[in-house]
């Protein structure tokens, strides 16, 4: 049973560029949440997708956007990258019947130079 997968593992971008991160949820899960984890900090909630719609959003600017596909996989897009966007981006999935238990993927390490 495959867990949550994310791609790419690492990414280096330049300020001002745009980036797309991808996530495939755990088998049987239909809800995907995205988190940003800065070094030495706890994960910060970006947004959550269910039924291809954004259900909840944390305190992140509109430069952060997402999408969920019919197969429940999801993308996180960040435009106009800033140095402060450098972080580990984590995707977590959950099932609607046990939506409170979130399972995290290994993350994508984004470095903005």
């Amino acid at each position: 049973d495959a867990g949550v997968t994310q791609s790419p593992t690492h990414l280096i971008k330049t300020r001002g560029q745009q980036v797309t991160l991808r996530c495939s949820p755990k088998s049987g899960h239909d809800t995907v949440s995205w988190y940003q984890q800065a070094l030495g900090q706890g994960p910060q909630f970006i947004f959550q997708y269910y039924e291809e719609e954004e259900r909840q959003r944390g305190n992140f600017p509109d430069r952060f956007s997402g999408h969920q596909f019919p197969n429940y996989s999801s993308e996180l897009n960040v435009n106009a990258l800033l140095l402060g966007d450098s972080a580990l981006y984590l995707c977590a999935s959950s099932g609607w019947d046990r939506v409170y238990e979130q399972y995290f993927g290994p993350g994508t390490r984004l470095t903005v130079t």
Binding site: Y35, G42, Y100
Partner: protein, 114 residues
């Protein structure tokens, strides 16, 4: 608002017990506990829901005091594998049903020495 975890770090000998606390200034619906090892994803440990019972498995258990908006994670007879950073994630009541995104504390670093 971000929950406050204490202590920030703790060093134990294998076999000793540890308590990690998590407190919030807001009313909580649930508290989630995760452990993250360096370079890895957070791993779900347990969730405590408002009105629920104290949870536990193996030698790790947790409690949730709804009135004080506090939760504690108890690790007994700690093992080397317990080393890592422990995060509590809190969830406030969500009028629309379903789960909010979690608000995580800054973490508690636990080091178990042989």
């Amino acid at each position: 608002q971000q929950p406050v975890q204490s202590p920030q770090a703790v060093i134990l000998r294998e076999g000793e017990d540890a308590v990690i606390n998590c407190s919030s200034s807001k009313a909580l619906y649930s508290v989630h506990w995760y452990r993250q090892k360096h370079g890895e994803a957070p791993v779900f440990l347990m969730i405590l829901l408002k009105g629920g019972e104290q949870k536990g498995h193996d030698k790790i258990s947790a409690s949730f005091n709804e009135k004080k908006q506090q939760s504690s994670l108890y690790l007994t007879a700690s093992q080397l594998s317990y080393s890592g950073t422990y995060f509590c994630g809190t969830e406030c009541p969500y009028s629309g049903g379903g789960a909010d995104g979690l608000t995580f504390g800054k973490g508690t670093h636990l080091i178990i020495q042989p």
